[in-house]
């Protein structure tokens, strides 16, 4: 399945595989997508962008990226072998052609004439180094578990590398578009400054304060980038961030809360962009602890989630009702035919009764660290009280939640960010031996399906396998997913070329490559 080199206008439209085009029509398109008709971009100008998180832990090392500001910074400075389009399909970037045999041995031809910001040409050695360093524990990579799949990465020609995987994975091109796998120079170990092949050169980087990128005149995408300079800062406080946008101090912000959208919409010079994403906060029922391992208890809790109320009251409509499985409607493998589980206290009572658990008392852990979970827990508590189940909401601080509470209590909330592929999400969070198998759910049938789907070349069969997995999770897994939470950005209307890439806010963190400033 070799990929040809698409020209620039086609880049956003071409889909990775031949069979994928059919699903494009079924994809929910978020309002305000600006990809369709591209007016002529203007060159020049300087914008300031405020993201939600910035601290002294900010990094220029792609392997260590953990927060939105990091992803934005890295996509600004570095390029990857592939990149995501608005359906999260992989498009060719530094790779000129990708072919595989048996989806295990991948051959990637590198684009010729690409130069790093210091003038050094891109070579296979850089790519090999950038990919293999994730396997070294000392790198501290967020992608270590994923990179374990790389059995071997080697230069196979002057402009070519080969990746041998431990087992077949048809999603490799999509994995390689993740910001962690962006390409750095061979041997880079000092990340005080950054040399990449991306659209902007790193002019200034001070952790927790700002990153300034200036236009890379030598960028490998002809005509791009458009802006002269981008200043990236972090404003943690939501109302300060919105104020900074409305006062004209910044041009673009992410993580706008639903109740601030009114203020932004009221301004004639600003707009809001909703991106329907795969972000969710989930109710975790541990399968290795009583009573949450009782299948009837799990079903009862799932019936007690008032999804419509959560969507409307907690997120003011900026959410999509979910169905206790993690693949969002925007994903091409989403199983639309799965019957929606309703809010049904009577059925919940039936299942609780069957489990012999009516009238028990149980703590449920929630924290501001998991978006909306405190309010969800309160709604759940109220619904449970009506059928005689006493839930005590334990609200714990965000600080330390992931290491101290998450996955550590029989009943608690967690949260998961959008992932580019169904395989990644299932492998990381639902597979029996997954590092973050949040509910401790073990299902051999699911694991088999997952491995089969990963190596499956036939797109229709693959979709069916992923559909079966969604049914299994929906019915049996100890995870309740009430809604998919939309990502909301606010921007100055002079910014053009802006749109949604459902990986995250700020255009899937990669706005830098796409936007220009209208005079």
């Amino acid at each position: 399945m070799p990929l040809s080199d698409p020209n620039r206008r086609q880049v956003l439209r071409t889909l990775l595989g031949a069979g994928l085009m059919a699903t494009a029509g079924g994809i929910l398109v978020a309002p305000g997508q600006a990809f369709a008709q591209l007016p002529v971009p203007r060159k020049g100008g300087r914008i300031r962008v405020a993201s939600v998180s910035s601290s002294t832990a900010d990094t220029l090392d792609p392997a260590k990226a953990s927060l939105s500001t990091d992803y934005v910074r890295h996509y600004m400075i570095y390029s990857g072998l592939t990149q995501y389009d608005q359906q999260l399909n992989a498009q060719l970037a530094l790779a000129e052609e990708i072919s595989n045999s048996g989806r295990t041995l991948w051959t990637i031809k590198l684009r010729k004439g690409v130069e790093f910001h210091d003038g050094k040409p891109l070579t296979p050695a850089d790519v090999v180094y950038s990919l293999l360093r994730h396997k070294n524990p000392a790198t501290g990579s967020k992608m270590k578990t994923i990179a374990e799949q790389f059995e071997e990465v080697r230069a196979s020609g002057p402009h070519e590398i080969q990746i041998r995987l431990t087992s077949a994975n048809a999603d490799l091109p999509a994995l390689l578009a993740a910001s962690h796998f962006l390409i750095i120079k061979d041997g880079t170990s000092d990340f005080r400054s950054a040399i990449g092949t991306g659209p902007y050169k790193c002019k200034e980087f001070s952790p927790g304060v700002r990153t300034v990128g200036v236009r890379n005149e030598n960028y490998w995408k002809p005509g791009k980038p458009y802006l002269d300079e981008i200043e990236l800062i972090g404003i943690a406080d939501e109302s300060s961030r919105v104020n900074a946008l409305l006062s004209g101090d910044v041009h673009l912000i992410n993580a706008v809360s639903p109740h601030s959208t009114k203020r932004i919409r009221a301004s004639s010079t600003h707009a809001v962009l909703e991106t329907q994403s795969g972000l969710y906060s989930d109710l975790i029922m541990r399968q290795d602890a009583a009573p949450t391992n009782n299948p009837d208890f799990v079903l009862a809790m799932k019936y007690l989630l008032d999804r419509e109320l959560i969507r409307k009251a907690l997120f003011r409509g900026y959410a999509v009702v979910a169905n206790d499985q993690p693949i969002p409607p925007s994903n091409r493998y989403h199983l639309a035919g799965l019957p929606q589980r309703p809010y049904d206290p009577e059925r919940a009572r039936f299942h609780l009764n069957k489990a012999g658990l009516l009238g028990i008392r149980l703590p449920v852990y929630a924290s501001p660290a998991a978006t909306g979970s405190v309010d969800m827990a309160s709604l759940l508590q109220e619904a449970a009280a009506k059928i005689g189940l006493k839930l005590a909401v334990n609200r714990v601080p965000a600080d330390g939640y992931w290491s101290r509470h998450w996955m550590k209590h029989p009943l608690g909330f967690g949260n998961w960010n959008p992932r580019p592929t169904a395989d990644l999400l299932f492998s990381l969070v639902f597979k029996s031996d997954a590092p973050w198998n949040v509910s401790g759910w073990k299902n051999p049938q699911f694991d088999q399906l997952l491995l089969a789907a990963r190596g499956e070349a036939d797109e229709a069969k693959r979709k069916q396998l992923y559909g079966d997995m969604q049914v299994l999770v929906h019915e049996k897994c100890g995870v309740g997913i009430p809604v998919f939470i939309s990502l909301i950005d606010g921007y100055d209307k002079r910014i053009k070329g802006y749109g949604s890439i459902p990986l995250g806010g700020l255009m899937g963190y990669s706005f830098a490559d796409n936007v220009w400033l209208e005079a």
Partner: protein, 317 residues
Amino acid sequence: MNTILFLVARRIGVAALTLLLVSAVVFAITSLLPGDAAEEALGQGATPETVAALRVQLGLDQPGHIRYARWLTGLVSGDPGQSLANHLPVSELIASRLPKSMVLAGTTAAVSVPLALLLGILSAMFRGGRVDRIVNLFTLAMVAVPEFLVATLAVLLFAVKLHWLSALSSPPDNPTLAQFLRVYAMPVMTLSFVIVAQMARMTRAALIDQLEQTYVEMAILKGAGPTRVVLRHALPNAIGPIANAIALSLSYLLGGAIIVETIFNYPGIASLMVDAVTSRDMPLLQASAMIFCAVYLSLVLIADVCAIVSNPKLKGH
């Protein structure tokens, strides 16, 4: 003169001892925080294997007393170590933030101290009168309104509505006067709100205390005018408590400026310390805490020296 020198030297010795104790307390308390730098850095993505690898890399697998000894010797020899969050030298991180905090604190002090003294002296001179009551009402109201409210209202009015000032205060490297005013107007105003009120009220109280002494009565009987009585006779005796009140208020300007730094996104040292807490970056956290403590101690020391030097009773010797 020798008595004064001796007093000052003794105070400095006590301050050094206090710093040492504080360092131990800070180290002990920070190690009580749940989680460590390795867990925080990996966040949701932590697995036992990666956490253990990172701990070894960061030296967190060593026992506490060894880490303390290592850190303390480093600190004494002028090297506060490396940040666990981003591997930059702590001194470099602090060097980029401390001057900015100093500028903010200095500007606020330059605005608020004269204003507070003026208000305090005026209301003491006219105590019980209309001026006094207005100043009282005003300062009490300022103390009562939380600074985040002042700051947010100021941003909504001056930045969002009127577009006069910037909602963010990121100071350029070499600001012109206009830029300087634009960046610092709102943070300085917000911080002044809190500390002017405190200092003015303390000044008033200290001064009134002196004005009720018999020597002031004597001065008035001798025919000294009210201004002369206050400035020449009462004020020098009140400098001790006033200087202490000012020192306390100013020490707040470094660490206590966190709310202002957050709302205006000002890159000061208080937010650096909060970052350090969230990322469990102990070397940075401990160094910041030591700086706050050292600044506090030196301010109090200066206040004491002021009190000693200005004391007319000591001058006679």
